[in-house]
Symmetry: C2
Subunit: 370 residues, 2 copies
């Protein structure tokens, strides 16, 4: 089902067929460098989240800048990165289907693999799979620290960690404390308050683990919207930032803190206007199958007078407001509302620099739902 490449290396940007997922490599690399330098300066491990990009070439660029490994969210996503040579992957999710655990355990013969647990059965089934394969899986206890999703209460983290540490095939590696909702709070004060609450939970979980007589080597979490807060808390020692490589329209709505890094928008959907049915309306070739819409509509980048107003399956309807009229075939650079699920719609990322296609990367883990 892999679709044709929308461009060839060396092509001018104007020759990219639309819609295409286009990465501005200069901005992307500045984002990579800035985050790597910030993590290093803070003495924190950087384990970027590969669910954002699903692209081994990007993971390798992150590792080359000092990342300790990557996070994945799904078993088959993790396997795609391991097959591409990434030797240290943390699946930031509960995995309880035996078939999936067996695949992960087999892969752990050649890579370091971690998973999350938030239940006793989750520990048992992981131990069984690891023992059967003769490997050791790293186990992170997921702690509920405000996200309202998975995870145990902080006070029971120690008990679950002890259980995991005692089971064959498992190694207790640390705590996963992630508060995703904090990423998208708009003001620094709101994000700071949310992560202060999460830090309190994380500290209590660490204490619970230590009371159980275990060392808590890693406390992992954080994301692009809030990582300065996790950094400053002194609780986390590993950052899982993912979206910083691309950014999106939703992150752009966050008001940055005064000292926050400003990551650049590097990811775009390149679209073409293919219908001009009325003076106040233009229609482009990128709709519901070209963007994820959970975080709002795409934004038209640096082109005054056009607003992406409505999506149908394969059309994007633009309101024409003022200024230079759009023209048939005009190409638009659109900023996705939410980068992660938008990337998941594409087979290829077209990397451009100086108006040329420099690379076309396969989005190898696209669609890796299992």
């Amino acid at each position: 089902m892999t679709q044709r490449v929308p461009a060839r290396v060396g092509d001018p940007v104007e020759a990219i067929e639309t819609p295409a997922l286009v990465l501005v490599l200069d901005a992307f690399e500045r984002n990579l460098d800035a985050m790597a330098a910030a993590a290093k300066a803070a003495g924190l491990r950087l384990r970027p989240h590969a669910k954002a990009h699903k692209t081994p070439a990007i993971a390798h660029a992150q590792l080359a800048r000092g990342a300790v490994g990557v996070c994945c969210q799904k078993t088959d996503e993790a396997l795609a990165f391991i097959e591409a040579g990434i030797a240290d992957v943390l699946v930031t999710n509960e995995v309880i289907e035996p078939a999936k655990l067996q695949r992960l355990a087999r892969a752990a013969r050649g890579a370091r693999i971690g998973i999350l647990v938030d239940s006793l059965p989750g520990v048992e089934i992981a131990s069984q799979a690891a023992s059967d394969a003769g490997v050791t899986l790293d186990i992170y206890v997921e702690v509920e620290v405000g996200a309202g999703r998975c995870g145990v209460a902080p006070g029971v983290a120690g008990a679950l960690a002890s259980h995991a540490a005692a089971m064959p095939g498992l190694r207790f590696a640390g705590l996963h404390c992630y508060h995703g909702g904090a990423q998208h709070k708009r003001t620094p004060a709101e994000r700071s308050a949310a992560i202060a609450g999460a830090a309190e939970g994380a500290r209590a979980a660490v204490a619970s683990v230590e009371r159980a007589g275990l060392a808590c080597a890693i406390v992992t979490g954080a994301g692009t919207g809030s990582w300065p807060n996790e950094r400053d808390s002194q609780v986390w020692n590993e950052l899982q930032v993912g979206s910083y490589v691309f950014m999106d329209a939703d992150y752009a709505r966050n008001v940055p803190g005064p000292a926050d890094l400003r990551f650049e928008q590097s990811l775009f959907v390149l679209a073409s206007i293919m219908s001009l049915p009325a003076a106040d309306r233009a229609v482009c070739d990128a709709g519901l199958k070209a963007f994820a819409f959970d975080s709002g509509l795409p934004l038209v980048h640096r082109r005054a007078g056009l607003t992406y107003a409505k999506a149908s399956d394969e059309h994007g309807t633009l309101a024409v407001q003022r200024g230079e009229p759009p023209w048939l075939g005009e190409r638009l650079w659109l900023v996705p509302g939410h980068c992660d699920p938008t990337v998941n719609l594409y087979d290829w990322i077209v990397g451009v620099r100086a108006d040329r296609v420099e690379t076309v990367w396969p989005v190898t883990a696209r669609g890796a739902l299992g």
Copy 2:
């Protein structure tokens, strides 16, 4: 980037790995049969929209029941069906990129291919590509009949048709009159009023074409939500229904007319609960990358006491209300909010009958954005 199959033919349904896109074949075939019989009874051509399923095996099942061909929405989607042996494809969209028109024109050496136009440049560029390839493309003039998207005003349809008819490599085939918004109006009266307006526009466009001295062989349009209205109007003679094969949560919110066919929900996302962090909350393994959310949240099918409440990238958070408590590993049948863009997230459709996997179909045109 094709992902592994989530099941094998002959597997019991319980062995399907989640998340998976599952088709209940009995319901699906009843939908196919009912629509084919209704179109035949009305003396209408049936050209189902393949953007809904993107799956050649389903297109062949539609043709076997009398469909004249399929609609596609994108060039590469059309090519995927042509390569799979579908010999008559109408691209219900403007195509203006020369590279795409060249691909379509080359494919027209072995298949009948139609495209839409709503501009003079659209006609010129299609003529050039068809002439260069030594083929004839069918040209349908798209008429704006209420959708507020692409298309010319009814009164100028004749002029554009005449222009197309006079150009080398093109054959004027008819009019495309589609009012997508009418599909999702909730009451029969609202849908009837919307299609009455569309029919008025379509009639005016036919008159414009006939005044230009051309025959208007085909008036094509309609969709699953409104086709009885198009049928009864006596204006359309070809139906483009797509979603009827699957249905979804949004169509289920339509109040059917007294004599309307009731298509059955045949398409589901099979998911698993992998975390039970609180008495009022369960978390499953299907989130923003497993469903399209433009038409609302998925519905939990025939399982009281659970509601799909919130999605993050790879998690679906369920509210637990009452009744039987959920259990770790429990499998949920979820009805997508919007079938078309949900199908586009999957590489495989798992067809089941009598609790067994009967077939696993590749979603060949998944991701065919170009």
